[in-house]
């Protein structure tokens, strides 16, 4: 039995805005009958404002709830605002979804994106030819593309193949694409790492010092110890442990598991912390 929020239950019991709009200004679709869930969303757009939205969904409780709340979220909003809605916003509005059901919120997002894309196509014919890179299908069972996986990682901060499966269904059937998904995750985080703004040497020193003073030192003081920054040589951060920390037989653990990992997370993954006397 799923632990659905009250809001999810309310929306699948009493779905809002069910049906289709004749003469809709935009129609979007996601999912398929074979995959077990599909969604069609119809929008009426006047002067850049979504004036009406309706949906038809073939799917489980959370799929219907995601579609229903999505229509409520977009009616009355400008197209620009609507474009900013992500699957996470849909899930949040529902008071959360079980992890295995996050793909339902993603389906809502994809149908909306499809609708807006079609709307743009209809209005700005010139703009339309802006080349969209050809989408590569990663999961052939559920027809999930690389872009969809990339988006899901970006919006939801996903880190494991299992999370990708929960959010996009990719890898959930035969499992052959799991290796590919792993590669995409690694590529994403490598790219993110590479795109991090580079600190100047002075900024870097200041940042390390700042983290030690505001995040690390207060924690050590709680246990009656403390830490001082002695020097920084490239990736080596030389520190001195004081108070109860000096001579503590667990000090090596403190140094590696806490001081070093904190600095690696916040400043640079290459940092090595060394204790000096």
């Amino acid at each position: 039995m799923w632990d659905y929020s009250e809001k999810v239950m309310d929306h699948y019991r009493n779905p809002r805005n069910v049906g289709k709009i004749d003469n809709a200004d935009a129609i979007g679709e996601a999912g398929s009958l074979a995959c077990g869930d599909s969604l069609k969303i119809y929008l009426k757009i006047q002067n850049g404002i979504v004036t009406d939205a309706k949906f038809q969904t073939f799917g489980c409780g959370s799929a219907v709830a995601s579609s229903s709340i999505l229509t409520e979220m977009i009616i009355g909003k400008s197209v620009e605002e609507v474009k900013k809605i992500t699957n996470k916003d849909i899930a949040d509005q529902l008071g959360g979804l079980p992890p295995e059901k996050m793909h339902c919120s993603v389906m809502g997002y994809e149908a909306l994106e499809d609708a807006l894309h079609n709307f743009d196509d209809m209005t700005d014919l010139d703009d339309l030819r802006e080349e969209k890179p050809k989408e590569k299908i990663v999961c052939t069972c559920f027809g999930v593309t690389e872009n969809q996986i990339w988006d899901a990682i970006k919006v939801n901060g996903l880190k494991t193949v299992e999370e990708i499966t929960n959010y996009t269904k990719a890898g959930g059937a035969c499992g052959k694409c799991k290796g590919l998904i792993k590669d995409i995750i690694e590529t994403y985080y490598k790219k993110e790492e590479a795109e991090k703004p580079q600190l100047s040497p002075a900024q870097r020193i200041l940042k390390i010092n700042n983290i030690i003073e505001t995040q690390i030192s207060p924690e050590l003081r709680k246990d009656g110890g403390d830490i001082t920054l002695v020097d920084i040589q490239d990736n080596k951060v030389l520190v001195k442990l004081r108070g109860k920390c000096s001579g503590c037989k667990n000090s090596h653990l403190t140094l590696k598991a806490f001081v070093e990992s904190t600095l690696r997370e916040t400043v640079d993954s290459a940092i090595v912390v060394i204790e000096v006397a």
Partner: protein, 398 residues
């Protein structure tokens, strides 16, 4: 919940009051270890011995020694399969079906990784086994054929006696294990007449509690134990006997023997009433495996162009319990492997609901379900994006 209508008896059943009563003395007064020598242990010792006699009759074994008490159906299956393979180390081939219960299927997938060759026999659209494929698959290297007595999702009964004949005609040394979890208490079992070497059952599917099962192993079949330790169960399954549960299992078996006639008449009539009532009143309903040779309590109905979990949620709001072959209910992303093996169309597979009755199901409960189902299905059908397809279906069937 006072207005609960429980139609998920293939998942588990309620413990019969008589069963619970039969168990209580072994929690309260007769708590002795049956292996102890003093007078006080006599009652618990006799309880286990009597239970073994009841179970022997329940499956018509030749000898009480052929009954081993286990903790559940999965243990019975694991013990039978591993036990036979360990005793036949020179043979590396196993045959089973595509529609076995996951507790068996997952074990075979593990065995494949361990180097065994496993053939999976398919089924037709009615859920019936391809016996020609089975016959062809058996060879000199086949250690074990493992086939369920009836399928848990569709209720389709497999021709066990005929299968046994096929196996023995091809290779006399091949052992035949039958997972009978879904038939125990629903149809008579006769291991001798059916030519079964090993047969597993689980108590909680026929009104005994969860946590007790049994394995029949005929005297000509040697197996190694899974649990090694004391001498209990003739060294085949160590661990102090679970006396209250063993007594409960025996009581449930006795009640089931008495109730078999009612299963074939009363329960079957109610199941048929439910099935035909739904088909009559709901145009987008179809029976998956609508053949006569099914366990009397089960029907599996596909509601087309709608999804099963949502049907179950709406039923649950009215206190009605059933289960679905849809992907969404289980958390796995794929729909039922059984319905897929039968090639049930995608339009119906995700909206498939299994109703499974018991001897406690009443006529008024079935009437109530028939009264509310059309409303539930209409409400969900109205949400479907496949309105044109549904309209066609309505013209065709309505």
């Amino acid at each position: 919940m006072s207005n609960l209508i429980y139609l998920d008896n293939n998942a588990t059943t309620k413990v019969a009051a008589e069963v619970l009563d039969s168990m209580m003395p072994y929690f309260k007064e007769e708590y002795a270890n049956p292996s102890s020598v003093y007078e006080f242990a006599k009652r618990s010792n006799h309880a286990v011995r009597e239970a073994r006699g009841v179970l022997k009759d329940f499956v018509n074994a030749a000898n009480e020694k052929e009954i081993i008490f286990t903790s559940c159906g999965s243990e019975s299956a694991n013990m039978a399969i591993r036990g036979v393979l360990n005793m036949n180390k020179n043979k590396r081939h196993i045959i089973t079906t595509k529609v076995e219960h996951p507790c068996v299927l997952n074990l075979y997938q593990t065995l494949e990784k361990e180097g065994y060759k496993v053939d999976y026999i398919g089924v037709n659209a009615n859920g019936e086994l391809d016996l020609a494929q089975l016959e062809q698959a058996i060879n000199y290297d086949t250690a074990l054929v493992s086939i369920m007595y009836a399928n848990n999702e569709t209720g389709v009964i497999f021709p066990i006696e005929k299968i046994s004949e096929i196996i023995k005609s091809k290779n006399k040394e091949t052992k035949f294990f039958v997972d009978a979890v879904q038939v125990a208490g629903k149809i008579p079992i006769d291991v001798q007449a059916a030519g079964i070497d090993l047969l597993g059952i689980s108590g909680h599917k026929f009104h005994a509690p969860k946590g007790i099962g049994a394995l029949y192993v005929n005297s000509k079949t040697l197996i190694t134990p899974l649990i090694i330790g004391g001498h209990q169960e003739r060294g085949k399954r160590a661990g102090t006997e679970n006396v209250p549960y063993i007594a409960g299992l025996a009581k449930a078996a006795e009640l089931a023997i008495d109730g078999l006639r009612a299963e074939a008449t009363v329960v079957k009539r109610l199941r048929d009433k439910l099935e035909s009532g739904i088909l009559k009143n709901i145009y987008n309903a179809r029976v998956n495996a609508g053949i006569s040779n099914r366990v009397p309590n089960t029907t599996n109905i596909g509601f087309e162009y709608i999804e099963g979990e949502l049907i179950l949620l709406h039923m649950s709001d009215l206190g009605i319990c059933a289960s679905s072959g849809s992907a969404c209910t289980s958390g796995s992303l794929e729909p039922s492997h059984v319905l897929r093996a039968m090639n049930v169309p995608f339009t119906a597979i995700h909206g498939s609901i299994r109703f499974s009755l018991s001897r406690y199901t009443t006529e008024s409960e079935i009437d109530r379900v028939l009264e509310v189902m059309p409303g539930i299905i209409n409400k969900i059908t109205a949400l479907s994006p496949y309105q044109d397809e549904l309209a066609n279906l309505k013209r065709l069937r309505g």
